[in-house]
């Protein structure tokens, strides 16, 4: 499911987008063999990148807002509720656990989940620091800042909270 789960909530069959997402994940789980894997490529709800552009709703900052506020805002601006839910790592973990997936691994997909050049294990901060220091090119101010910041204690931890997207591998 690459770039798909966030759109599932737009269906008219469910009033709650989260319920629609759970229903689709349940279908996937049923299709899997025991021990089979589901891969999900999706955005991080608190991605720093959303400061610069619009969310799936077509409006700015909606993913950062509490759901009820995003709902009110989208209804007022677009005439429809906020139904393209994305989550944080913890949010996806809970969603997948609710759908019966026992084991879930998270990766930071760089530069994004569509054409990821790197999949960095979420729990391995050393790997993340290694990527920034060693494998990223030098060109560009953003990269220079990222490289300088990677040396600061706690910076890789902060980066992963604000990273653009996740590659999620869930096992049945």
């Amino acid at each position: 499911m690459n770039g798909l789960l966030e759109w599932v909530g737009k269906t008219s069959r469910f009033s709650d987008p989260r319920e629609a997402q759970k229903a689709s994940l349940n279908i996937c789980r049923r299709l899997l063999k025991k021990g089979g894997y589901l891969y999900i490529g999706i955005e991080n709800r608190f991605a720093l990148a959303y400061m610069q552009g619009t969310d799936h709703s077509g409006l700015r900052f909606t993913s950062y807002m509490p759901r009820f506020l995003a709902n009110l805002y989208c209804t007022a601006r677009k005439g429809e509720p906020y139904n393209t839910h994305t989550y944080t790592k913890m949010g996806y973990e809970k969603l997948l656990r609710d759908c019966g997936f026992g084991h879930v691994d998270f990766y930071l997909a760089y530069p994004g989940y569509n054409l990821p050049r790197m999949m960095v294990p979420y729990d391995n901060l050393h790997a993340l620091a290694y990527v920034v220091r060693t494998l990223m090119g030098a060109a560009g101010t953003k990269r220079s800042i990222a490289r300088a910041m990677s040396r600061l204690p706690g910076a890789p931890r902060l980066y992963r909270y604000l990273s653009y997207s996740f590659g999620i591998v869930a096992r049945k």
């Binding site: 990821p116 050049r117 790197m118 294990p121 391995n124 790997a127 220091r133 494998l135």
Partner: protein, 303 residues
């Protein structure tokens, strides 16, 4: 695949810093991997981290589809070729160690050690160090060189390079005419030396005074001594002078260090460039004769 990789690693605890380490895997692929240009043939690199370690211990190279297995075989054999050339010498650290090739008919991957260091392209300096080390390595290889290219061999080499471009006859004639502008040495004696083939700033890692060359897909494709140097200078953005000036600075020293005899090397630069064009052509970029000459001139004068 990861299960097979893990099994192979566990069977070889000597590769790890600590044999019971918890392993985590980080996937890295090329920018084109997975795109329409790649057609499933793209290489995928997996760095294996041991828990608590700040650098990876092992590097696994594989391909998305088994039908592209030759990419991995070639990479592994090329690395073995390079390693054999520096075995027991002071240049062993110039390349990683080939550890293992796995092929079960469904999956293929090779296991290599990991180069320490940071990509040259991620640093502000270091180009001079790379050139210095490259020259020393080539001089080391030249000591045992058994084949040499003469002027006649060079002409044949040029013909082969042009044929490989598969240009229309008129374009080939344009290139030949252009090449005649350069004086050709009559007493060329150029040792045939293994070239890395893709010595770009992205493929050079630096740590302290050591460098390490990675990515072995094109090893041995070029036998023309100095191709790597030209390739490096043309891809490097660390030069303040034009490429032509950089070549005049480094090539005389290079030829002297490998014991080559040539009165002039201007023609060689264009031949190196034809080799680069061959590479582009192989990558599906349409190249015409006048474009080649134009881009060569632009490149040589670029700062």
């Amino acid at each position: 695949m990861i299960h097979k990789v893990t099994k192979v690693i566990r069977e070889h605890p000597e590769w790890l810093r600590s044999k019971d380490s918890v392993l985590s895997f980080m996937k890295v692929s090329m920018p084109t991997s997975g795109t329409v240009f790649d057609k499933g043939l793209g290489k995928v690199i997996i760095f294996v981290f041991e828990q608590g370690q700040t650098t990876p211990t092992i590097c696994i190279k594989t391909v998305r589809e088994y039908r592209a297995r030759e990419v991995i075989r070639r990479n592994y054999n090329n690395l073995k070729l390079l390693s054999a050339g520096v075995s027991g010498s002071a240049f062993e650290s110039l390349f990683v160690s080939p550890l293992y090739l796995y092929d079960d008919g469904n999956d293929i991957f090779c296991v290599e050690s990991v180069c320490p260091g940071v990509m040259l392209s991620a640093q502000a300096g270091g180009a001079d160090l790379v050139i210095e080390k490259y020259m020393l390595w080539q001089a080391h290889l030249a000591q045992t060189a058994s084949r040499f290219l003469s002027s006649q061999d060079m002409m044949e080499y040029v013909n082969t390079s042009m044929e490989a471009l598969k240009l229309p006859e008129i374009a080939t004639n344009t290139l030949r005419k252009y090449l005649k502008r350069f004086p050709m040495s009559t007493n060329v004696r150029l040792p045939v030396l293994v070239q890395h083939g893709d010595m770009t700033p992205d493929n050079v890692l630096i740590e302290g005074d050591n460098i390490c060359l990675v990515d072995y897909d094109y090893v041995g494709v070029n036998i023309l001594a100095g191709f790597d140097l030209f390739n490096f200078l043309s891809k490097s953005s660390h030069q303040r002078q034009s490429l032509r000036a950089a070549c005049s600075l480094y090539f005389p020293r290079y030829f002297e260090s490998i014991g080559a005899t040539t009165e002039t090397y201007d023609n060689l630069l264009f031949i190196y460039y034809l080799e680069e064009c061959n590479r582009k052509w192989l990558r599906g970029v349409d190249t015409r004769g006048d474009e080649i000459i134009g881009s060569f001139e632009t490149l040589m004068n670029r700062k």
